[in-house]
């Protein structure tokens, strides 16, 4: 599912888009097994000369936790995590995510791993970026079968956080007032294609812009400065996308 033959890969485009979404914040935390968001966070850190602080979960070398598995959630509850990423087996047009199962909860058709921390982090992290490369009517549905975490709440519910965007391999949706808006379509993809493969309704303007491709400076930064950092945590991804291999024994996380 690469972008059209160009001088960048689709992973690079997505990372560039996400880095822009991250914006000027203090702390970005990236979940396990999320190499593209990790690339984006490290890119943002390079551009910001050390800001934001980046935590790559699952990598003891790139996290500071010393208070056990709860510290991530406590840290978020303290308002000390500004950006986090969530995915979902299903995501619907209200920003609801489903990480549990399809069909009736009591008699599921497909069982996913479970909600992880979504039913908390989605509420307390100010900028949650939804990330789901597979853009299909299977994943982007009219209504999720199980709400692991809702996109919005009634106004009286304590909710400093929530979704700001959904990025897929076809496009970028913004999220506001409980609705997605098609912000841009990635190079090589079209609005009609997005409509065809999206199971939920979304807003759009008459002329949806193309997602801007990464600039030569950004590509250089990503490939020369970010990729080697990434390779410590995601050696396979770094090798595949950036052709980077670490000298000798690449660092490996213990879990």
């Amino acid at each position: 599912m690469n972008a059209a033959p160009r001088d960048f890969r689709s992973e690079e485009l997505l990372a560039d888009v996400i880095a822009r979404l991250i914006g000027d914040v203090r702390h970005v935390a990236v979940g396990n097994a999320s190499p593209i968001p990790a690339t984006a966070a490290l890119l943002a850190r390079e551009r910001g000369h050390g800001r934001p602080y980046v935590s790559l979960l699952g990598s003891p070398k790139n996290t500071f936790w010393t208070d056990g598995a709860r510290e991530l959630f406590d840290c978020a509850g303290q308002g000390r995590i500004d950006v986090f990423f969530l995915s979902g087996g299903q995501i619907d047009g209200h920003g609801n995510v489903n990480l549990v199962s399809t069909g009736d909860y009591a008699y599921p058709k497909v069982r996913f791993p479970g909600s992880f921390g979504s039913a908390y982090l989605y509420y307390v992290v100010p900028k949650v970026i939804l990330f789901r490369t597979e853009h299909s009517r299977r994943t982007l549905v009219p209504k999720v079968d199980f709400i692991s975490a809702p996109g919005t709440n009634a106004p009286n519910v304590f909710r400093p956080g929530g979704p700001i965007a959904l990025i897929t391999n076809r496009c970028l949706f913004g999220f506001a007032q409980g609705r997605f808006t098609l912000d841009s379509v990635h190079p090589g993809h079209t609005v009609d294609e997005v409509i065809e493969h999206t199971g939920f309704e979304f807003e759009r303007t008459a002329a949806v812009p193309q997602t801007p491709p990464p600039s030569p400076e950004t590509l250089k930064l990503m490939r020369e400065v970010v990729a080697p950092q990434l390779a410590e945590v995601y050696p396979q991804f770094a090798a595949q996308v950036f052709g980077i291999t670490l000298p000798l024994s690449a660092g490996t996380a213990s879990g």
């Binding site: 003891p60 056990g68 709860r70 959630f73 549990v100 069982r111 479970g114 921390g117 307390v124 879990g255």
Partner: protein, 272 residues
Amino acid sequence: MSGPIKSLDEALACIADGAMLVVPREVSGVPMAATRALIRRGVKRLHLVALPTSSLQADLLIGAGCIDTLETSAVSLGEFGPAPRFSAAVISGTIKMKDATCPALHAALQASEKGVPFMPLRGLIGSDVLKHRDDWKVIDSPFGNDDPIVLLPAIKPDVALIHAPMADAQGNVWIGRQRELATMAHAATRTVVTVDKIHDGNLLGDPLLAAGTLPGFYVESIAIANRGAWPLGLPDHYGVDAEHLALYARMAATAEGFAEYLDRYVYERRAA
């Protein structure tokens, strides 16, 4: 008092059929050798609390028919794919599932650690996680103004079962940064520990080591199980055995393959 260090089977003897057992997440020191020993012993009807998630350990116990109720936020083999026995059991309804979210489990264990009947938690409202947990309550916070908040009842396990790099002869266990292991031990009635090795000396006698030590006061029994987290990793000590986990994922994809896995890697004691 007799010393806390016992054989693996003796150490596990206090985990009775039907017990509520709490185990740590897949990267915090998972007692896999002990898990295989429990399966060999034929433990039944466990209420397994995986704090807050699990991988191979839960999948293996489920597949082997040891689990009645599973309380966790997720079970997955991570980069090796879904947890096949977990998925199959949920779909076929052979285990009772209590779906949670990570900080809810941490908070519920901390409630027992602190001797309170419940802990509050933000989030959750409007989710189906909350909707399916009739043991969780929503109250209007007395400190707010029309401010609903979820209260989670304390989880008080019968036994906490953990694996750690080392323990000493006094029963003190070095857990390092995995502080949820201390919370588990504080919350549970009993704590059983397997360790890679015995530390020569008293862990509480050295301030540097003491900072990462679970006091023996909380520990019921300890068994030596060198590389006892295998094929999972132990933080700062060894990584996961990726080849074995890939093998597991392939074999456990079917009931037959899983049965063969048990024969080969659990019942044969070859990997204990």
